[in-house]
């Protein structure tokens, strides 16, 4: 089915910003979107697939290796040396369904080849399919802990190592992990929270005009997805260009010492643990500046991304009810405002 266009999504600005940052700087560490039920989290994230420029891959390589990258040798490309014909393919957005078994996630012995030809072959799993793309987990808070651990490990190391059924395979698996969920149905283990780069809370819009618009667009889409998508094609095209330019510009965006210093004061004021928060904050601000067509990171970019990069890194008591986003906002005002 034709996905709902990203640019047709009403409100949800923070979610849209976080996803765009993650496409501009893929090393940001993934996005976690928690919030109310029925706010279109999944729709927004699936609409992402539309925004990404196609990537060049080695034809017939199940791991989508980049033909220009001589280092990244997957098992396939290592065998078929020389044959590196390049084709273009859309950036994969892989859904991890809640019931997925571990063998399907990491890959396993190819049953068909083994049964019919007696060959011992590796059948790549979802991690391979998501390489150079996005891995989306809805209800990440309900996924068994051992799978979440596994996914975060691979996401951090960029490599999937399989040792099973007499197979010994390692292949690159660099993907942006996107998790969503509803805290009413169980929360994510605190240890896993800060392994996501950006996090945000999704809220239901309460203005009548906005709500009417959401319903209207959704009904038009449900009635004729193709026609609806066509009506938004121009906006989508403009955004694709914007994202492409932002990605190309990113290495040239400068970060001054003053900005780094303010970022670090912000983290100090909030008492975030470790350096990860600071690094993510600066990276996200850089991506935001690039999206803004700027060549230098300014305070406004820091302020824009601070809640995304920091709200899940604050120390808080388990039953602390004060919104973390509000605390970050206040610190931003204190550090950057004055």
């Amino acid at each position: 089915m034709t996905p709902y266009p990203f640019t047709a999504i009403v409100a949800q600005d923070e979610l849209k910003l976080a996803l765009q940052i993650a496409t501009v700087d893929r090393s940001i560490g993934g996005v976690l979107a928690f919030g109310d039920r029925g706010t279109g989290k999944s729709t927004t994230i699936r609409a992402l697939a539309r925004l990404l420029p196609p990537m060049r891959v080695v034809a017939s390589c199940p791991y989508h290796c980049d033909p220009a990258d001589a280092r990244a040798r997957c098992p396939h490309c290592a065998e078929a040396a020389g044959e590196r014909e390049a084709i273009e393919t859309p950036v994969p957005v892989v859904d991890l369904p809640l019931g997925a078994t571990e063998d399907r996630v990491v890959g396993a012995l190819d049953l068909e080849a083994a049964l019919t030809r007696g060959e011992r072959r590796f059948s790549p799993g979802l991690l391979a399919a998501a390489h150079r793309g996005f891995l989306y987990i809805d209800e990440v808070n309900l996924l068994p802990d051992h799978l979440v651990d596994l996914l975060l490990d691979v996401a951090a190391s960029g490599e999937n190592v399989v040792e099973r059924e007499g197979l010994s395979v390692r292949h690159p698996a660099r993907f942006v992990l996107i998790g969503s969920g509803n805290p009413e149905e169980g929360e994510l283990r605190p240890q896993l929270l800060d392994r996501f780069g950006l996090s945000l809370e999704v809220r239901t819009p309460d203005e009548v005009a906005t709500r009417v618009e959401v319903v209207k667009r959704r009904m038009r889409y449900d009635q004729d997805p193709e026609a609806f998508a066509a009506a938004w094609a121009e906006d989508e095209a403009a955004l694709i260009v914007r994202l492409r330019d932002a990605r190309a510009r990113l290495p040239e965006v400068a970060v001054s010492d003053a900005v780094i210093e303010r970022a670090s004061r912000l983290c100090q004021a909030l008492g975030t643990d470790g350096l990860r928060g600071e690094l993510t904050l600066i990276r996200a601000a850089r991506a935001a500046a690039s999206l803004d067509a700027q060549r230098e990171v300014a305070d406004v970019h820091l302020a824009q991304v601070a809640p995304l990069a920091l709200r899940h890194r604050l120390r808080r008591a388990p039953l602390d009810d004060v919104g973390s986003g509000a605390r970050v906002q206040k610190a931003v005002e204190d550090v950057l405002g004055g």
Partner: protein
């Protein structure tokens, strides 16, 4: 509400637009009424539309599809089999005992409703199948057991069959041919902004903030217009949609907006309270519709219709400050998270003996490399030898469920409730870190109330604790009994229950609700012995400022560990609970 005419109308609307409306939750015991409603829907569906039944404990591979074992073995290559969801594409799926559905099954049903398609990633297979389906979720839950809120949220309608006139009533007005014509008309039905705005205002006035109910109401209004032969949604359609979709989801009465009403009154300077109310309502609908002055604005009509759909008793519960919220009322969270069989921790080579489950795919994998040598393989079937057998190993985590029974009565509450809350929070916080379940029963006045069904959600814990009010008499026996029932229920779901009773032990309400301290004390002792016979590990926290003998006797009767609260801080209590959990696990 939920009279027979409403039930008949829901059956008609659902057969006009099954997948658009998501479906209906039918609460009530099995019987002729339920069969009758199902029959109404079935005979009105398009002839080619599937109408299937999903058994109560469906496995994931039957639901989604997976490896067809017999076919795979015969042909020597992996053969996929369609699951029930894919085979219900374009029709309706009747989910039996939906309130007991495993969390994973619920998640798949939700995903199918959201996307109109399912993705299968199992057994080394990957496939996408169309799945535009509506659900009839049969809910046989009693008391606090409900269909998972995530699923209920996606179904436009909810009907309570037990509340209907048992002698029966109106049947649908529109027959299968008329419904078929309505289906054909549906894509041409237009829906004005004023109607959506009126629905949105009605939803917000009733405390229904989420967008999905609004979208479902808008779709129900269109289906209703189509059913009545119109190509444009009118007031009446919106009213019916509000009544059937929004009313049952109300979390507050529309009048419960005192500050807003007062504001408007002040603005208008109208001293007459009756007139102010009407004027305020009129202003609210301004800009949303062009009703000429003198006519009742559309927003009010829709809101009134939605109000008529609020089930009796729903808002009473809200008024007394319980945590019941239509959007968030969970069935006992107990069954909703994960299977209790422990997570699979790989496989090992072993013959499948008692209690072990053969892992077919892994067994085939083990056999596969040897097929040539054994003369099996393509066309000749697969030769499986005993040494190929693989069984799934499960790591059995010891999941516990800590049940708090908190005395919120006058004798205990006024002095100690704040401290009790502090202790509960601390223990809950620690349980949360270990991913245990917690439940909270409060007892005061006439009886015990389940404030928090077993859950791991901190958001819900926070709300429940905030809503915990104090004061009134002490129905101690009822409180212990409630904790006892919850403990047995937890055990039934494979969890190790731990009961924490917080009271000063001074009972004055008997089990049957009379004020009689002497009998109440005897009743409480009897309940305590009941708990002891069930051998549930119990912690008794005496909340009296000066511990008395009576509380100690109670604790002994339930064979509980007795701790006087004045000498403990929250962290100390949490340590005791954890120690008890470890002992119980052994």
């Amino acid at each position: 509400m939920s009279g027979w005419p409403d039930v008949a109308r829901v059956a008609e609307l659902l057969s006009v637009d099954p997948d658009g409306l998501g479906g209906v939750r039918l609460r009530g015991r099995p019987g002729p009424h339920r069969r009758r409603v199902l029959e109404w829907v079935r005979e009105r569906l398009a002839p080619e539309a599937p109408f299937r039944r999903l058994p109560a404990h469906v496995t994931e591979d039957r639901l989604l599809g997976g490896l067809a074992l017999a076919e795979t073995l015969r042909s020597g290559r992996a053969v996929m089999e369609q699951g029930v969801l894919a085979r219900s594409d374009g029709g309706l799926l009747v989910v039996a005992m939906a309130e007991r559905a495993e969390r994973e099954v619920v998640a798949h049903l939700c995903a199918a409703l959201d996307r109109g398609a399912i993705t299968v990633e199992r057994d080394g297979m990957s496939a996408e199948a169309s799945c535009r389906v509506g659900l009839i979720a049969l809910d046989e839950g009693i008391d606090e057991e409900h269909v998972d809120p995530a699923l209920a949220d996606r179904l436009a309608f909810a009907l309570d069959l037990d509340a209907l006139d048992p002698r029966g009533g109106a049947a649908p007005e529109h027959g299968p041919e008329e419904v078929a014509r309505a289906r054909a008309r549906l894509p041409h039905v237009s829906l004005g902004d004023d109607i959506i705005a009126a629905l949105s205002e009605a939803a917000q006035a009733l405390g229904v903030e989420a967008l999905r109910p609004l979208l479902l109401a808008a779709k129900a209004a269109r289906a209703h217009a189509a059913l009545l032969g119109r190509t444009r949604v009118e007031e009446e359609d919106a009213g019916m949609a509000a009544r059937l979709v929004l009313g049952p989801r109300a979390t507050r009465a529309p009048s419960a907006e005192p500050e807003e009403a007062a504001e408007r009154e002040a603005e208008e300077g109208d001293p007459d309270p009756g007139g102010a109310g009407a004027a305020a309502a009129g202003e609210r609908a301004d800009g949303a519709d062009e009703a000429p002055p003198g006519e009742v604005p559309l927003g009010d009509l829709v809101l009134a219709a939605a109000e008529s759909g609020i089930p009796a008793g729903l808002l009473d519960a809200l008024d007394v400050g319980t945590t019941r919220r239509a959007g968030a009322t969970g069935r006992s969270g107990a069954t909703r998270i994960g299977p209790s069989g422990g997570r699979p921790a790989g496989t090992r080579a072993a013959p499948p003996t008692r209690g072990q489950r053969l892992n077919v795919v892994e067994t085939l994998r083990a056999a596969a490399p040897w097929q040539r040598l054994r003369g099996g393989g393509f066309g000749a079937g697969v030769r499986v030898r005993p040494e190929d057998f693989r069984v799934t190993r499960h790591r059995q985590p010891i999941e516990s469920c800590v049940i708090f029974a908190v005395d919120a009565s006058g004798s205990a509450a006024l002095r100690r409730l704040a401290e009790a809350k502090g202790a509960v929070e601390r223990v809950l916080g620690d349980c949360y870190v270990r991913r245990d379940h917690v439940a909270l029963v409060a007892f005061r006045q006439d009886g015990a109330e389940l404030l928090l069904p077993p859950t791991r959600s901190l958001a819900r814990v926070r709300r429940s604790l905030a809503a915990l009010a104090g004061g009134g008499a002490t129905p101690l026996a009822a409180g212990i009994d409630a904790a006892h029932r919850l403990a047995l229920d937890a055990r039934g779901r494979g969890r190790e229950p731990i009961v924490v009773v917080m009271t000063d032990g001074r009972a004055n309400v008997t089990r049957d609700g009379r004020r009689d301290p002497a009998v109440a004390t005897t009743d409480a002792l009897e309940s305590a012995r009941g708990l002891q016979r069930a051998a549930v590990p119990t912690l008794f926290l005496d909340t009296a400022p000066r511990p008395r003998r009576r509380a100690r006797e109670l604790a002994e009767a339930m064979d509980a560990r007795y701790l006087p609260l004045p000498y403990l801080d929250a962290a100390g209590i949490s340590r005791h609970v954890q120690a008890l959990a470890r002992e119980g696990a052994r």
